[in-house]
């Protein structure tokens, strides 16, 4: 039974959608489960044959207990449930079922608000002739980094479902292009601030995957020594402050860090990530205004993924674009396709150059979409299926892969090689995280004050 959420200990199998002996494809709905929070279909995350059902329809099973056995071949023998537990990992889908947990009016609203997945650009400044040209190595580097972000999140997703990681997670599948495009412009010594959804930002900035994974495993070897967790990952030496999980809380912090760069005459800048939901909080207004009046070297990167948790942006913002808000502070604002890593890179390169030249901040709105739920227990019923499908077509990694293949910069064989190498890297990271020491309970007491 997959781990269905932080506060969900068990689930009732409503019915099996496959019978023993059936072939099961990866991603195919396997069974329906009902909890006190939600009813949903669960997909198989690996292909195989359903050998035996251990927990039948109508029965209840605890999280992370075996409920069925999948085998690689139709007649593979096995030593019984105790010695041959199935791989306890499944993929939740966002299929809408009769859970009643979603108010009808909200879904109706979501449908009515279904947006065109192709954002129109506004306020895009003319391209400068000195615009940086991306080399093949840079392009392949960005591609590989995005794949690493995605595969890291996918790996983490299954680790959570298997109950191997404590806490909760806010995942960033679908938002890799904004993280990687922005961070690829940054230099050593530059800093980023991040949010409760920080994994891709951290990976894009170059925080070690090993230390990130160890932090998620709550190990002493983690980037925050087990004191931060998913929502606070960071590593100043890599150029990332611990992620701030209060919405908008990192915005004044970014301005302050930029003030130190300006004051100490360092050539560095800050990239401050936040979502569109944060642009309604007071710290956004205060932080952006103060950065504007002092011409601080910071780029405010708004990843507009259209939903603040489950609340659609149209419900909570009267202006059409977040970037229009820049006018209130007298700074440039532009909206760009946040799912096109090269578009993001070029926009960020312009904003970063401005900041480094002492011309002050830019509000860069990157339109994107999170393909996962808000947090781990979110099936996403507030988003219309056609909207999700539309954005899935615009998956930033698949789109970039197609382009690089067409341009001949990426060989088909290399795609598999890259994925296999990353898979290996993640295997290593998981193994090292698992082998790493736990913090001692009393380590809880240290690091409150600097002595």
């Amino acid at each position: 039974m997959p781990d269905l959420g932080q506060t969900v200990a068990e689930g009732k199998i409503v019915r099996w959608l496959k019978q023993p002996g059936d072939r099961v494809e990866k991603g195919e709905p396997l069974f329906e489960v009902e909890t006190d929070k939600v009813t949903m279909e669960v997909e198989a995350f690996r292909a195989g044959y359903l050998h035996e059902i251990l927990v039948g329809g109508g029965e209840i099973a605890g999280a992370a207990t075996p409920i069925a056995i999948l085998t690689d071949s139709p007649n593979e023998s096995h030593g019984g449930p105790s010695s041959h537990a199935p791989e306890p990992g499944f993929k939740k889908t966002s299929s809408v079922t009769a859970s009643g947990s979603v108010p009808g009016v909200q879904r109706k609203h979501a449908r009515r608000r279904t947006t065109s997945p192709a954002p129109e650009r506004v306020v895009a400044p003319p391209r400068s002739t000195t615009e940086p040209k991306l080399t093949t190595d840079q392009k392949l580097g960005m591609y590989r980094r995005m794949v690493l972000c995605r595969m890291f999140e996918e790996r983490v997703y299954y680790l959570f479902l298997e109950g191997r990681l404590p806490g909760t997670i806010h995942q960033s599948q679908g938002q890799e292009a904004s993280a990687v495009g922005v961070c690829s412009v940054l230099e050593p010594g530059d800093m980023i601030t991040s949010t409760h959804r920080p994994h891709s930002h951290a990976i894009a900035r170059g925080v070690s995957v090993t230390s990130l994974m160890a932090e998620l495993f709550a190990k002493a070897t983690g980037c925050c020594r087990g004191k931060g967790g998913s929502m606070h990952v960071g590593d100043r030496d890599a150029g990332m402050l611990p992620a701030i999980a209060i919405v908008g809380g990192g915005i004044p912090l970014a301005a302050g860090c930029a003030l130190s760069f300006q004051y100490l005459k360092q050539p560095n800048i800050v990239a401050c990530f936040f979502g569109e939901g944060a642009t309604n909080i007071g710290t956004f207004h205060e932080g952006v205004n103060i950065a504007a009046i002092w011409d601080l070297p910071v780029v405010f990167v708004c990843e507009n993924n259209r939903y603040a948790a489950s609340t659609a942006v149209e419900k909570v913002m009267k202006v059409r674009r977040v970037s229009e808000r820049a006018a209130a502070y007298g700074i440039p604002g532009e909206t760009q396709d946040g799912n096109d890593v090269e578009v993001v890179y070029r926009a960020m390169a312009r904003a970063a150059a401005r900041a480094r030249d002492g011309a002050g901040p830019t509000l860069l709105e990157l339109e994107t979409y999170r393909l996962a739920g808000h947090s781990r227990s979110d099936p996403g019923h507030y988003r219309a299926a056609e909207e999700v499908a539309g954005w899935k077509v615009r998956d930033p990694i698949a789109a970039y892969e197609t382009r690089l293949l067409a341009e001949g910069l990426l060989r088909p064989k290399a795609v598999a090689e890259i994925r296999s190498a990353i898979d290996h890297e993640l295997d290593e990271a998981v193994a090292r995280a698992e082998q790493g020491p736990e913090p001692r309970p009393e380590d809880c007491l240290s690091d409150v004050f600097s002595e």
Partner: protein, 335 residues
């Protein structure tokens, strides 16, 4: 005390280029040097690069100070009235206080946040005493000087501390002279050496020794307590008066030693009674010194109401020397 605070800032800014000031109206030409003139003249000496006037954005002031501290500066920020700290609460309590911890001890946040407190006929939103809120947040240090000498020494220590320090100043202790003097302000005289000195945090000061009862106080209440002790002495009761000087860290051993000697404890604070810092002191004494106590612990504090405006009500609200005397008498004559 204004001059002592200004001198501390001036000395630290001369000593360390990384020290900057952030706040509203602190460096404007022709302005008033912050709400209570503490920063008057500093922008002339150090320029607007280091004495930085901000918009009315308390959350940003606190967040910018925190971010600048992470980036290697040593900011001293202020709010015009302590009451405005609530606007900055998220940045102080969630960011400044916790970033070191969340980073596993890799970061330091060397910043000072100055805040005037105390009831001064300005009513409910410009007169609160807020020490307990910040004492409750792990990761913040809390200082609360009662006189110019301590103010200078503690502020200089605060600037050099690698942790965020909330530095409370009582409006009636700023001085009884000058353009922004407070009606009812005390003329707290004291020699403030021009040369360098530091007062370590976590060292309470016994201002008056006594055998019959221990009075623990901070800020303005130190002076009310000393006044009460003089009145009590006329009746032959010798009260020991302790100025805590810093609440985080708090010098428990000095308080414990005194209570072990006198067997009686009175805590005096201007904050509302419920959940004030005095409650914590009472609990610790009950934990550690119960065998030495000859009478119940008494707290003299403001009632659980907002700060009233009318002077007649405010006088009732703020603990007076007479109330302290009554509390001491009740404890001394117990049984």
């Amino acid at each position: 005390m204004v001059e002592a605070l200004r001198e501390a800032l001036r000395e630290e800014m001369r000593r360390d280029e990384r020290v900057i000031l952030l706040g509203e109206d602190i460096g404007v030409e022709g302005g008033f040097g912050g709400a209570f003139t503490v920063t008057l003249g500093l922008s002339e000496e150090f320029g607007h690069r280091r004495v930085i006037d901000t918009p009315i954005s308390e959350a940003a002031i606190a967040g910018v100070a925190t971010g600048a501290a992470l980036g290697g500066l040593r900011p001293v920020a202020d709010v015009q009235y302590g009451d405005f700290l609530f606007l900055a609460m998220d940045q102080l309590a969630n960011n400044a206080a916790k970033l070191r911890y969340m980073s596993g001890g890799k970061l330091t946040v060397p910043m000072v946040f100055r805040a005037p407190v105390g009831a001064t006929t300005r009513g409910a939103q410009h007169g609160q005493s807020l020490e307990a809120f910040f004492m409750h947040v792990p990761g913040l240090k809390v200082a609360c000087p009662s006189n110019p000498y301590d103010a200078k020494g503690l502020l200089k220590t605060a600037v050099r501390d690698d942790n965020p320090v909330i530095f409370f100043e009582h409006k009636l202790l700023y001085g009884s002279k000058g353009s922004r003097k407070e009606k009812g302000g005390l003329q707290v005289l004291g020699v403030v050496p021009e040369e360098e000195y530091l007062i370590p945090f976590g060292q309470a000061k016994v201002l008056r020794p006594g055998r019959d009862a221990t009075i623990v106080a901070n800020l303005l209440m130190v002076h009310k307590s000393m006044q009460a002790a003089t009145m009590l002495a006329d009746d032959g009761i010798e009260a020991e008066v302790i100025d805590v000087r810093t609440l985080v860290p708090l010098d428990w051993s000095t308080v414990f030693e005194s209570v072990e000697k006198t067997g009686k404890l009175i805590i005096v604070e201007e904050d509302n009674l419920t959940g004030g810092w005095g409650a914590e002191v009472a609990a610790r004494i009950a934990d550690s010194c119960i065998d030495y106590l000859d009478a119940p612990i008494r707290r003299v504090a403001a009632p659980d109401t907002p700060v009233p405006f009318a002077p007649v009500m405010e006088n009732f609200y703020v603990p007076s020397a007479e109330k302290i005397v009554a509390a001491v008498n009740a404890v001394v004559s117990w049984r």
